[in-house]
């Protein structure tokens, strides 16, 4: 009886648990949590999939991890937001060419009580200096993501090394944007976030946007095809079709038409 059960289990599970790779063509896109958590990819991808029959499988992690995964060949396309690191990825030969796709901006969110008194400012550097001066709790991604890299560049401009205060007012969560926003929400901390993730975040609690509009908060997204010369098994043809679509008129207008609560989250700017 047990043998029969096992056999039945293997048949029912085995056939269906096998990867579906054989039937439908697909690509793996290494991307960042902001493009997924904001709902953008869920909104625009069905259009591409219907047009081409190519299934787009998105692995959403921090930019740093996405780039490392792509270097290992575990993706066909890279869609992230850390221009410097992206260009290095191409220079080192891991990627074919980098294209601008879209942009949005970072915002500084913090508790409504605003202990560092930064509300309404448009100078992010002055605001961060005020947070550090007041030793107000600040939650940092601390995970080498695009947002974390942007934050560290801004601290450089402030000429403050917040990691010296790590564990006191400066808290490195080592987690994704959503997890870090949950931390900030739970302990009334300031944090730097991309606007898309913030806008779609369900647990804003006592936090609100306090500083925005500084040109230094510009957040550019780029797309790169993983180099098939480095990884011959990369699905380069299908990956290129996706990139062509994304930076072409159809993809760009799909990005522009995605709105959450009436607000546009990403602004297409491919050449």
């Amino acid at each position: 009886m047990i043998r029969n059960f096992l056999r039945a289990a293997v048949v029912t599970l085995g056939l269906t648990a096998a990867p579906a790779s054989a039937e439908a063509p697909f690509i793996v896109v290494q991307s960042t949590t902001s493009t997924q958590n904001s709902g953008l990819l869920d909104y625009i991808l069905p259009g591409f999939e219907a047009e081409t029959g190519i299934d787009v499988r998105v692995v959403a992690v921090g930019t740093g991890q996405a780039i490392r995964n792509a270097i290992n060949g575990d993706g066909d396309v890279l869609l992230v937001h850390a221009k410097q690191a992206e260009e290095q990825f191409v220079t080192e030969g891991w990627g074919v060419e980098r294209f601008d796709v879209m942009y949005n901006d970072f915002v500084l969110v913090g508790p409504k009580s605003d202990p560092a008194k930064v509300r309404g400012g448009t100078d992010i550097v002055a605001a961060l200096a005020a947070v550090a001066g007041a030793e107000a709790t600040f939650a940092s991604r601390g995970d080498d993501s695009g947002t974390h890299k942007a934050e560290m560049r801004l601290w450089d401009t402030v000429d403050t090394d917040p990691t010296a205060a790590s564990g006191t007012w400066y808290r490195e969560t080592g987690s994704g944007m959503g997890a870090t926003l949950n931390v900030a929400s739970g302990m009334d901390a300031y944090t730097l976030t991309d606007r898309a993730t913030w806008q779609s975040f369900g647990n804003q609690g006592n936090l609100e946007v306090l500083v925005q509009g500084d040109p230094r908060l510009f957040n550019q997204y780029g797309v790169i095809l993983v180099n098939p010369e480095k990884h011959p098994r990369a699905r380069a043809a299908a990956g290129q079709r996706f990139i062509d679509w994304l930076i072409g008129p159809d993809g760009q207008s799909a990005i522009a038409s995605y709105k959450l609560d009436g607000q546009q989250l990403f602004f297409p700017n491919a050449d």
């Binding site: 047990i2 096992l6 289990a9 293997v10 599970l13 085995g14 269906t16 648990a17 096998a18 990867p19 579906a20 790779s21 793996v28 949590t33 958590n37 869920d42 499988r57 998105v58 692995v59 959403a60 290992n72 060949g73 575990d74 994704g176 944007m177 959503g178 997890a179 926003l181 949950n182 929400s185 779609s200 975040f201 369900g202 647990n203 804003q204 990884h231 098994r233 990369a234």
Partner: protein, 237 residues
Amino acid sequence: MQGFASEFSSAIALILNGDAELWAIVLLSLKVSIFAVLISAVIGMPVGAALAVARFPGRRMLIVLMNALMGFPPVVVGLLVYLMLSRSGPLGVLELLYTPTAMIIAQVVLVTPIVAALTRQVIEMLAEEYSEQLRSLGVSRLASVPVLLWDARLALVTALLAGFGRAIAEVGAVIIVGGNINHVTRVMTTTIALETSKGNLALALALGAILIGIAVAVNAMVSTLSLRAEREGLRHA
């Protein structure tokens, strides 16, 4: 928190109103974990039983190692399996990364030590109890393994359930090797992690409640089955 309670109950209602996508996720969770437990049983039970009856130098150390592996951190297992299955890893040619098969492999690594260690314990006690009889029948130690396993089958169900509990509740390994890809490798735990990161805490908690419900249902089903088997066994005896 009042808002949270109503949010939570509306999330539960939403889920129970037959959300097809959610049930596909539940089904994939069950498939991956049940499959992983079955494979772990095939590997872990003979290994555990053999360790229980065999006598060789280094046996104690192996047992200690096996017991320690029950606490192997899932993230580390996920990382190891990722490095093996990555395109630049030794098994990259198999193209298994980001598939349900990769998740099964990771869970097998996590569950097999549990099944083996618990089997070892059960069989060791049983072997002591039966040692006289087995010796008088002239059965060698290793040859007694299948008999002992069969005799201990009801106790071993608990070992499998412990393994299933570890597999179905685990997130650290499957999110690395599965990638939490929508419609492909998204399971209950990775969905909960995703909704938490979106700040949809009520929905995440509601999904957690469903997951617990499934675990209870599976355990109840198995315990009913083994109780029935036990009664039948007594009747035949």
